[in-house]
Structures are given as C-alpha cells and as structure tokens.
Symmetry: C2
C-alpha cells in the first residue's frame, strides 16, 4: 500500500516534471528555462538546403509533432494533478535548419552531431545546426520529442542542446530467415530505430532455414530456398528498405553468413559440402560451403559483386560463426585436401583457408566487412578496416573485447544485447547497465570499440511479435550507445523510458510493450486519439 | 544439419497430412475418409431454428471459411511438395444445423455437445446436431477448421465427429487494472477464445492500481479510481463485451476482489481501513476494506445488486486473495473490535468475518460466486455452489485440489496456467502437460474439478502485447480442458498447434506468436492474402 502511494506520487510528479523536455536517448548537453512557447499549425521547418531527404523529414516530423493533442492534464482522474493552464510567452512559428555539407554520404564515419536552440527572448527563435544531413535528422528527432502536446495546444520550453553520439555504430539486427518478417514490420522497425537514433540496420537476411533474398545472379537461391514463393524480398523490396532507412539516417548492412549457416544455398550445385556416412558413401546430406573447390570462390565473387551493386554501404556482414566440422570430417575429398595442405586434423585451418579466400575476394571487389568474433578467434588475417562483432558470453566478452582491440581491430558489442532472450520482469535494466568500453585495456583499445548492436534472433519472433518484444527494450541499448558514458542511473531512466514508450513509440503507432510494471499511457496503443474524446470529456 | 532435414521432412509430410481435417482442440471422436467434397460460394448454412445468435454465427463462419484461398501447394518452394490436383467426388452446398432446445441459457451447466457428419456418399450431405445453441457454436467452429482452402478452391473431407467438453468450465482471465486493455483487444481475445472453445471470460476488471469499471451506483469509483477519464469501461462497453461473448457461447464472470486489492475503491468515504502510524495517529494511508463498519456491508450490497443487474451470469468472482493484515493491525478501532469478538491476534478470523458477511450478501441477492483459494484456506464457510479457484503453486496445488474437493466444493485450476510468466523457448508444453485431475482423490473428488483457467496478469501486459503473448500458448490449455484426458502427446500436438496458429489465429487476423522455433505460415500476420499474389505466382 505504502509503495503504491509512493509510486503514484512519483507518477504524479513525473506528469509535471518528466513529460516536457524529456529526450531519449539523453543528449550530451541540454538545458531548459521555464519560458514556454506555443506552437501552432502555422509552424514550419525552413532551410536553405532543401534536399529530398530533408524535405521528407520535415513532412514526417510535422505529422509527428501534431499527432495530438494529448489530454495530459485533465481534471478528475486519480493520478492527475489539477490542470494548470500553460502560459506561453510567445508563438514559435518556425525552426530554421542549417546544414554545412548536405552532400556528405551516409557511412560509418558520418557526422551526426547537431546543436538546437529554442530561444524565447527577446523573441521566439529556433535554430538547428548540423554539419551533415545525418546530424540534422537527429536534431529533428530531438526537437519533436521536446514538444508537449496538451489540450491547450502544443508547447515547447526554451531549450539549448549540443549533441553528438558517443559511438558511431549503433545497430539493430533482425533475422528474417528463422521466420519471415513482412516488409511492413521491417519498415516499422526502421521508424522505431530513427526515434531512438540507431544508425545501422544489420539485416541477417538468410540462414540455414530459408533464403528469402531474391538474387538476380542466382535466382534459384530464393526459388528453392525460401519458405514459399511469397516469403521473399524482391529487388524492389530490398531497394525500398535501403531508401527508407537512408531517409532516416540508417545504413543497411546485409549479412550473408558463410561457410556455416548456409543450408538454404543448397540449390547451387556443388556449393555445399556433401556429407558421407561411415561406410564411405555420400549420405545425401550437405554441410557447410565446400571450401576446397575453385568454383566455390567464383560463385562467391559473382554473388558479392551483385551485393555490392545493390547495397550502397561500404560494409557487408560475412558472418563466419559456428562452423560445424563434422560433415567436412566425413568427406574423403576434404580429407585429401587437408593432407595435401598439411592441415592435419585441424579443421579450423580449413575454415581459416576458406575465410582467407573470402576476405581476399572482398578486397578484390572493394567491400569492407563485419564478421562474428569466431573468424578472428580462428586466427584468420583480416583487413585493418574490419569490424569484429563480439557476441559470445562465454568466455567473457570483456576478455574478447580486450583481445580484439589488442589486435588493433574495430569492434562492436552484442553479447549483452541478445533481446530475443526474454524473461519475466524488468530485463531492460541489465541492457542499460552493459557498457561496451567496460573492459581492461588502454585508451587506444577503448577507442577501437565503435559501438554495439541490439540483436533479436528469429526462432521465436515474426511479424506478430517483433515490434512489441523488441521495443522499448532496445531503447535501453540506444541510450547506452548514444548518450554520455556517465548516463547510467537506472532509477532516473525508468520514468524517462516509460515516457519515451508512450510518446515516441505508442503514440506514433508502434507497438511497444510495458516494461516497468503497472502504468498507463495517455494514448494507449490502437486507441486513435480522436476516439478518446468520449462523452465524459 | 541432419535435424534440419528431418524437420523439413516432417513439415513436408505435415503439409499433406496435418493441414486438412485438423481440429483444435481435438474432438472426442473423429473419423475421416479419403473422399473429398468441394465447397463453392453457393454454400449455405441452414436451420429450422434461426435465432439471432445462430444467424450471426452463420454469417461469421461463412466469412471465416471463405477467407481467401491459401496457396498451400504451390510449385517451386523448397519445403512444399509438388502440387497435387485435389479430386472432389462432389459439391457440398449446405450444412444443416439442428438444435433441440434453442431457449437454453448460457450457464455453468450448459450443454456444449454436438455431432457433425459430412457424408460424401451416396450424395454430399452435411449435418450438425446439438442439444443447445452452445453446442452448435462449438460444432460450427469445428466445421470451419475442417475446411482446406487451396488454389483449387475450398475442400472438406468426409468426416464424422461426436464431441463434448471434458470440463464444463474452460476459462481465460484478463486483468484490466494493472494496465488498461482497450475494448478492441478484449473483443479480439473473445474471438480467439471462441476459436479455442473456451467458454468463460473471467474479467479481473479492477484492482489496487485502477478502477476502470464505471458503476452507476458509485460513479466516483471510476471517476477517481481510473487512470484517466478515458481509461474506463462505460456501461455500453461492458454491455458490448457481454453480448459479444454470449454470441460466441462465452460467459462473462466479472471479479471485484475484496477485501484486499481494493486501493482503487478509495473514493468511497470510510470504506477502506485507515492505517495508523506507531504513535497512534492516522498516517493518511489506507488498507483493505474496513470490515468492522456496518456501512461497509450496505455499500457492498448496493454495489453487487448493480453487478447482478448488469452481468447476466449466475456467478460473480469475489476475489479474496492476499489480504495484508498490517494496516488492520495498526488501527485501534479494529483492535477493539477484535477484542470484543474474541478474535485475539488472529486477523484471519477478522478476514473470515468479512468474507462471511460478504457471502451472506450474495446469498441474499441471489448471486453465486467464485473465490480464490485463500478464502477456504482461511476456513470461511461458503455456499455449496461455490467454485474455488486454485492458484498457488506452493504449497502443492495438487494437495489444495484434494483438500478443496474433500470439502465437497467445486474447483478450477490455474496454478500451472499463469501465462503472464514468460521465458525463452517452448513453455506451452508445460501448460499442455498439466492436468486438473492429476491429484490423489476419489472419483467423486475428481468430479468436483469442473475445469481450469488460463490467467494473464497485467503487470507487463497491455493492448500492445496481450494477443501475441497469450496466443497460441493459451491454446495448449484449451485442449487440456476440452479434449479427452488421453490426448497428452506433446509431439503429436506440436504440428497441430502450429497449424492452429497459422490457420485459426493468424489467418483470421489475430496476432499469435511462433512458439516452436523456426517456421512459416502460408499467410503471415499483416499480409493480406490478396497482396500475396505477387508477380511470381
């Protein structure tokens, strides 16, 4: 009982205190004054660099700002304070957006910094400055989150923000192979990512179970490897995802995991390793990609040349995790090859051989790559630009981060952010507490940690439950990756993440589950605001 | 790799074998022949007892049957067999529905048995017979599940079903107090319940955290106890839920949990117990309902008289769980009352006193009741018609079932079916294995177990995630409660529950999560069938 009253009090205080001016993830520097400005329907974004991306973002954010109004301070309800009339000192009629270099491409090294000033005095002025378009998009998101929608209209406090990401790689991984994800849910997830300032969509697009990616070079891959002819991503679908992401400042890094996790490539003849039974005859089953045939590497080169054409990002994800050696061990041709090359019984040397050839192809065709930690754990020599994704929890991911950065390689952390693992209660606090630079190493090593990635593997996830299961749990990761390393207080984050869920996810039409026990949102999911205006109001 | 091939093989066999003629929950007796009948758009339901409920059910099931052909056997896709043309021996143009007594009310003792015959020879005839409307509704659901939708049209096998529920109480409990559930999601859940032959919606409508129920007798309850004036269920809302449920053969049993779990009743003066601090003054906080005032029982009688008017079911749920004694202990008036009544320090006697008065009111106004096990654990004498809901896991629920039935009381089990508890992987198998009659007792005791209830408490559940989190996990409970006690094979249930998820939940527009690892549905959630007819088909 006592605890309930206290929580109601906190909720009540939070109604007054947390709602306006809360930005998630927390900006690096932010200050506000008590002066309030009103925003009316006349409000416009303005710029002298009206690119397509910026103009579309203006349209999007105009819609998002005026989604309300939210009846935040209505009388009568138990946990709401009496409604205070909001006193504005003036009207804010525009936000001027200045970008120094609109031509800068979206890459790993894009500049996402921005500064945002909303002045009330001597007269209302709002100004957003960014070096590149990508920073302006982040600034527009922050601006939209500052706006307080009430029955008296839309308001914004006098605010000053100077902001930039702590890490340059802030990723989300979806798996569309264990279960197919509809295009619609992938786009919704990109929306949610942009509301959380994530900047990489790592698309684990194929795996053992299915090959939904339609390749123009090898169309048989999806024809025989997809669950059905409808469970595919056509070239148009993929192009739409790439453009939709880019419009939101999100890179798309596609993963084709080899030589393991590749059963669904079986339609290419002589590409997978034939497995043999104990009496020395092929048993009709197939293992990892066959590493001993020259044709294997011709196929891979052709395939990745197509990928380079179709995905604009400099990076591709090459996978390389969990190669099972038993099929290779059963195959007499592989055994002969091992002997000829002096590999003995060390199949990790064969894996090394495969990976060496694969990364040589990448260098040849000009693609950089991310790989799961297994590849460097198996001592494959990789390009200095390589990004190593640390995903294992045992042995310690901290030791792995130290090891990888000691090799002078860039790394991203996922070990503590496998959000497919679910349990009862508040697990986001664990995600929030995990820090990618929390390991023993020099400053130089720490600097090689370029970020992290929230992953949601697809064994128990499809279009029915992706959004609500992933959000706002992934928001905990977004703040860890964007905000200052000092922003670590879980108690302070709790009402903020609840507010973020209600106002930036649910209110904007995205399913995001409750993660902190009992609560409510002013506008619940699937209740259109206008429908809320019942007779009692 | 090997295991993947085997699963693909099972999937492939299942495409042929599991799809047609699979009914969930499994009917008591069912046989099919190889003879196939075609169902065209001319198909009609017919009856000589055209009640509103039946006519509406006909309309509903006609829509559900013709939801759009599923391209089940398309060529080319990896895990699909080559398409076989389906050969029908004739057209089925109608299902004739006969009901012996259409006037029978929906109660705990309603008859839900039915028999269904689809004959191919000498000519196509289909006949559904039920004693009461409620059995006809179950038969229509089974009929709809028998129909195989393909690109060649709609087909049904020659089939004979004789079916009836193992238990007469098959409940689902939703909690709309910890989080508000929108009307829309409550109705969706009723749809899902009817597809699973559940017959009781136990509505845990209020609790400490909020009071969304709009009472006409005490309107201040929701005015001051709801999260906001929009987080309420108006009389129209409640009426709609009751009618929507009844149309599907589902009783609505509303719960008003007292004397604990009642903080949200605080707007009624002198109804909750004032708590005192150690120096003997009221501390401004309130505990359970005040059991020592006569006014308490007047209020309760008035309130439950309204409930009796507004909810047609014979039963109401009185709660009675988890009464915290600390506030009662602090209050000097309560202490005096305890002394006067010779209760000593035994606050469970005071709870007994309260419950005794409450059930006496129920007898007076003519309501039967369900109570959580705590009430009988505290030795309150209850009406012989009482249903005791066993929910605790410790001490053993089997011992509790034995104890309660030894007291000659009816009981329902929920201990093993708290579906709000989630974890990674296949937890439905655990729900499936739990049996309400699996305890030491006489046959007479076993007969007093009238069913069970799948509960989903609302701390981490609202309209964003209720449907996908609850379904199809709750389907495991539905089969346990409807089908023969012999239907226990998890391996056999696995492809059937997957099929049920795809065809009876997702295809019908309900979010139901994948629960068995990687898989696909022919029609995934949010992909409208017609949109699937892409260029490649």
């Amino acid at each position: 009982m006592a605890s309930i009253q206290i929580i109601i009090l906190i909720t009540l205080l939070c109604q007054r205190w947390c709602d306006a001016g809360s930005v998630w993830p927390m900006p690096q520097i932010m200050s506000t004054s008590e002066s309030m400005l009103k925003i009316t329907q006349e409000f416009q974004f303005e710029t002298d660099v009206p690119t397509d991306i910026l103009n579309q973002a203006f349209q999007r954010y105009r819609k998002l700002i005026f989604l309300g109004p939210l009846p935040r301070h209505e009388p009568g309800a138990a946990v709401n304070p009496n409604r205070d009339a909001i006193k504005a000192v003036g009207n804010l009629t525009k936000l001027f957006v200045q970008i120094d270099d609109v031509s800068a491409n979206l890459t790993l090294n894009s500049d996402e910094s921005y500064s945002l000033s909303i002045h009330a005095h001597p007269q209302p002025v709002a100004f957003l400055h960014a070096k590149q378009t990508w920073g302006a998009l982040r600034g527009l998101e922050s601006f939209s989150q500052l706006i307080d929608a009430t029955y008296d209209g839309f308001f914004i406090q006098e605010t000053k923000i100077v902001d930039y990401p702590r890490f340059k790689y802030r990723g989300v991984m979806l798996d569309s192979a264990r279960h197919y994800l509809t295009l619609d849910v992938i786009l919704q997830n990109l929306d949610a990512m942009s509301y959380n300032k994530f900047n990489v969509f790592h698309w684990h697009i194929v795996d053992d179970q299915s090959f939904p990616f339609v390749s123009l070079t090898y169309p048989q891959l999806s024809q025989h490897g997809s669950y059905t002819p409808r469970h595919v991503y056509t070239p148009d679908d993929v192009q739409m995802v790439i453009e939709y992401a880019r419009d939101r400042g999100i890179r798309v890094i596609v993963e084709f995991d080899t030589p393991g996790h590749s059963s669904s490539w079986r339609s290419i003849p002589n590409f997978l390793t034939p497995c043999y039974s104990k009496n020395g005859v092929p048993n009709g089953q197939f293992g990892p990609i066959n590493p001993i045939l020259n044709s294997t590497y011709t196929i891979l080169e052709d395939f990745f040349r197509e990928i380079k054409k179709r995905f604009p990002d400099q990076y591709v994800h090459l996978g390389g995790d969990e190669v099972n050696f038993s099929c290779w061990q059963s195959n007499p041709d592989i055994q002969n090859f091992m002997t000829q090359h002096g590999f003995g019984d060390h199949y990790e040397l064969l894996e090394q051989y495969y990976e060496h050839n694969l990364v040589t192809i990448m260098e040849k065709i000009g693609l950089r790559y991310i790989i799961w930690q297994d590849v460097v754990d198996n001592n494959v020599k990789v390009d200095p630009n390589t990004v190593v994704q640390v995903w294992k929890t045992s042995p310690s991911y901290k030791a792995e981060l130290a090891k990888v950065t000691k090799m002078n390689l860039q790394t991203i952390l996922s070990s503590c952010w496998y959000l497919n693992y679910i349990g009862y209660g508040r697990d986001w606090e664990r995600f929030y507490r995990c820090d990618p630079q929390d390991f023993k190493g020099t400053q130089q090593q720490k600097n090689l940690v370029i970020g992290g990635e929230a992953c949601i593997w697809g064994e128990y996830v499809d279009s029915t439950n992706l959004m609500e299961r992933f959000w706002p749990r992934a928001s905990a990761v977004s703040e860890r990756l964007w905000s200052s390393a000092k922003v670590t207080n879980v108690d302070a984050a709790l009402p903020r993440i609840d507010h973020h869920r209600c106002y930036q996810l649910i209110r904007r039409g995205l399913r995001a589950q409750p993660i902190n026990g009992y609560s409510f949102c002013q506008a619940e999911y699937n209740v259109v605001m206008n429908h809320l205006d019942r007779d009692e109001l």
